[in-house]
């Protein structure tokens, strides 16, 4: 028995080894480790962790089952609230959610809730356990747009209530950001994402890929001509942002979206796939979020010396603590408190470097973080042949601009209420990044659940 104040350590691939491969970094708990960690849970009466969870998983209950060795029951408990436990166990920012509220964390380390959730989900998959479908179909058709975390969750919940759900996905593969955005070494595509998608399908959900709502068919047509009674929009925030600085159109400047899509969705890192990716020798990633960490660690694995350039200090990095930690271990270099002002290129328009300016932290801004301020005359150059812009994304206007009566705010985000995902248009619900702008997988899942509740209520009241 280890120190009760500390988490049971989780096994990981050695940083030197994993920096050269795309296999999963974290190896997860085995049964003994999971049960040992589960013992640390105090089984609080007023469990704060549940309040910290956007989908309100009954955390003490599932951890109790793990402690007792009832892993199938633990999976059933989680499945009542989450359609994607194997994903969440891996990519949720637990430190600011469930684990951030854990009483154990007041004195020592919180219970490793994320790793336990992951263990349960992986165990269920290895043992062929699937979520339980609805006993009876109710015959009402609902369309879900987008097969990312919001869409899969909404579809899964509605299917379990008995609805006949079809998901429309614009890309050729289901999973949304889980497939094109988050890399293999953090979220294995076949073992985890495809398996979770299969679980949702096993509830009776149909997935039609290669359908771009707003282009191939519109929401109004789905409602009018294709017999759907309600629509949930979970189309995400897919449009990349650039800085608008000189040289940004040079060859070798990519959006993180492009770089990651080539590598994750199109599997450019594998020799047996056709899609090319530029193998930089010296890569600069601009930004400090999870996507920036993913891009930097991908470039590193493709053989580059990789720098993160971020305008604030380490304390303000928006990425999950674990990702920053892993990136450092693997050898990503952090150039903090500096910001690009120009991309330098040669006569053939290929990137040769980035001119940056040093920053210092001033007064807190609207987000509560101290605002970075340029230090005059502090410009310097970083040599680079590849620059990856990871500055965030915004929702695609394709759907809002082709749907009559659907209100958006000035950031092009669809306006929807938090409780039920209701939009300005009758029968149309929305949630996830399409509503909030780029956020996390779990918040999108929470919004997917809210949308499912809203749609259920709407269809029931209409047919009452």
């Amino acid at each position: 028995m280890g120190d009760v104040l500390k988490k049971v350590p989780v096994r990981e691939q050695d940083p030197k080894v994993r920096a050269t491969n795309f296999d999963e970094v974290c190896l997860g708990y085995n049964q003994e480790e999971a049960q040992e960690e589960a013992v640390r849970c105090l089984n609080c009466k007023k469990a704060q962790c549940v309040i910290g969870c956007p989908v309100s998983i009954d955390i003490p209950a599932f951890i109790h089952e793990v402690k007792e060795g009832n892993f199938a029951e633990a999976y059933r408990v989680i499945s009542e609230s989450s359609a994607l436990p194997a994903v969440c166990g891996r990519v949720c920012p637990q430190e600011t959610q469930c684990e951030g509220k854990c009483i154990r964390g007041k004195k020592g380390e919180p219970v490793s809730i994320g790793k336990l959730e992951r263990f349960v989900a992986d165990w269920a998959k290895e043992n062929g356990i699937k979520p339980t479908p609805a006993a009876q179909k109710n015959g009402h058709k609902v369309a879900v747009i987008g097969s990312g975390p919001a869409g899969l969750t909404c579809a899964g919940d509605l299917a379990r209530m008995g609805y006949d759900v079809t998901i429309f996905e614009a890309l050729h593969k289901a999973g949304g950001v889980l497939v094109y955005g988050i890399p293999e070494f953090r979220l294995p595509k076949e073992k985890v994402v495809a398996a979770e998608v299969e679980n949702v399908k096993s509830l009776g959900v149909k997935i039609e890929t290669n359908v771009i709502i707003g282009k191939s068919v519109t929401i109004d047509e789905l409602l009018k001509d294709e017999g759907f009674e309600a629509v949930f929009i979970g189309s995400g925030a897919g449009l990349p942002m650039f800085m608008g600085i000189p040289g940004e159109q040079a060859n070798g400047v990519f959006s993180a979206n492009e770089y990651l899509t080539r590598n994750n969705l199109m599997k450019a890192f594998r020799d047996d796939y056709d899609t090319p990716i530029v193998h930089g020798k010296k890569v600069v990633v601009v930004g400090g979020g999870n996507v920036a960490m993913d891009a930097a660690r991908t470039a590193l694995r493709l053989g580059a010396e990789t720098h993160i350039v971020y305008r604030r200090s380490e304390a303000e990095l928006p990425a999950r603590a674990e990702e920053v930690h892993h990136a450092k271990e693997e050898g990503v270099i952090f150039d903090l408190l500096c910001n690009p002002v120009e991309i330098l290129a040669d006569e053939n328009s290929w990137v040769t470097g980035v001119r940056c300016i040093r920053m210092e932290l001033g007064e807190p801004d609207a987000s509560g973080r101290r605002r970075p301020v340029e230090i005059p005359g502090s410009e310097f150059e970083i040599e680079a042949d590849t620059v990856i812009m990871s500055l965030g994304t915004s929702p695609n206007p394709l759907i809002s601009s082709t749907t009559y009566g659907l209100d958006v705010n000035k950031r092009k985000c669809i306006v929807a209420d938090e409780e039920f995902g209701r939009t300005s248009k009758e029968g149309v619900y929305a949630g996830g990044d399409a509503v909030t702008g780029a956020a996390t997988v779990i918040l999108a899942m929470g919004a997917g659940k809210a949308g499912a509740r809203g749609i259920d209520e709407y269809i029931k009241s209409k047919n009452a």
Binding site: H172, K215, Q249, E258
Partner: protein
């Protein structure tokens, strides 16, 4: 799966296919494109739409094999399938927004080059169906590379030209346009140019001189085709535009063609590498000057 109903070689190394894709066919308008992916390991390739039939649920594509993935298409026959076929993507031609009266008043000339002839065809056909028969100049390097001659003749006043003079006349499309305007008294309110970037650049230089507003259709590197990756970004005037969602058609007098052509080179060596790997497999150990396998 999207079934190929017809596959033929239109001209030397230019291929045409009818593909069953009812959702796409029902929505197509001139100016739009599709993204095609053959199988699990293939790239997503943007291709121009040459024709579409909502009744039959088919879309006609025309392509010239250049990269690893399009070279695989060459061996496909009727009955084979594409794994993925998505669209229609991009904005329809602005002409489709005009009323029949507005269209009748417009004097339009099209200039198509090489495989760029294919996306000109649906525009001509659409205009013809709306009571307008525009002039159309098609240029090709040589006689064997002229495609869709009969089809184009049926819906436009067609002027053909070949670089080497092997068919009809010798010269570039720009020579014909200059001749029509300066010697034959033609007046145009609009030019639509579709073809290789270098051709569109020269058409735009000429039409600027002649004072004819010009629309071009850009076909840069793309991955998703829905605005996600930003690979297809172009400078149009002072603005960054994404060809996939803002275009593919833009004001040709504002497009920075030199930048666009440089960006198109981005994966040339990468494509070359992938091609060599495909052709030579395990036997390729460098010597190509690209892969560094001999270093």
């Amino acid at each position: 799966m999207y079934k190929i109903l017809r596959a033929e070689e239109l001209a030397s190394n230019i291929y045409l296919m009818d593909v069953e894709a009812p959702r796409v066919a029902s929505r197509c308008l001139p100016g739009q494109f599709v993204i095609v992916k053959l199988d699990e390991v293939s790239e997503r390739i943007p291709l121009t739409i040459c024709d579409y039939d909502p009744e039959k649920g088919t879309v006609t594509i025309v392509f010239q094999p250049i990269g690893v993935s399009t070279r695989k298409y060459v061996s496909l026959k009727a009955g084979d399938c594409f794994e993925d076929f998505v669209g229609p993507l991009g904005q329809p031609s602005e002409l489709t927004h005009l009323s029949p009266e507005e269209l009748k008043q417009k004097k339009i000339v099209f200039v198509g080059g090489g495989v760029g002839t294919a996306p000109v065809y649906p525009q001509l056909k659409w205009l013809h169906a709306h009571g307008v028969t525009p002039d159309c100049i098609i240029g090709a390097r040589t006689k064997d590379l002229i495609i869709l001659e009969e089809e184009m003749k049926a819906v436009s006043n067609l002027y053909l030209t070949t670089d080497d003079g092997s068919y009809v006349r010798k010269g570039m499309g720009t020579d014909v346009l200059r001749d029509l305007v300066q010697n034959q008294g033609k007046k145009y309110d609009l030019c639509v140019a579709i073809g290789p970037m270098i051709m569109m650049k020269f058409v735009c230089l000429l039409t600027k001189e002649l004072g004819i507003p010009t629309i071009v259709s850009m076909n840069p590197i793309m991955v998703d085709g829905t605005g996600m990756c930003g690979a297809c970004r172009l400078m149009v005037g002072d603005e960054v535009k994404f060809a996939c969602v803002d275009g593919p058609e833009f004001d040709g007098h504002k497009v920075d063609f030199d930048l666009a052509m440089k960006r198109q080179q981005m994966y040339k060596t990468e494509e070359g590498r992938a091609l060599l790997r495909a052709q030579e497999g395990e036997t390729h150990h460098g010597g190509c000057g690209n892969c560094g396998g001999d270093k």
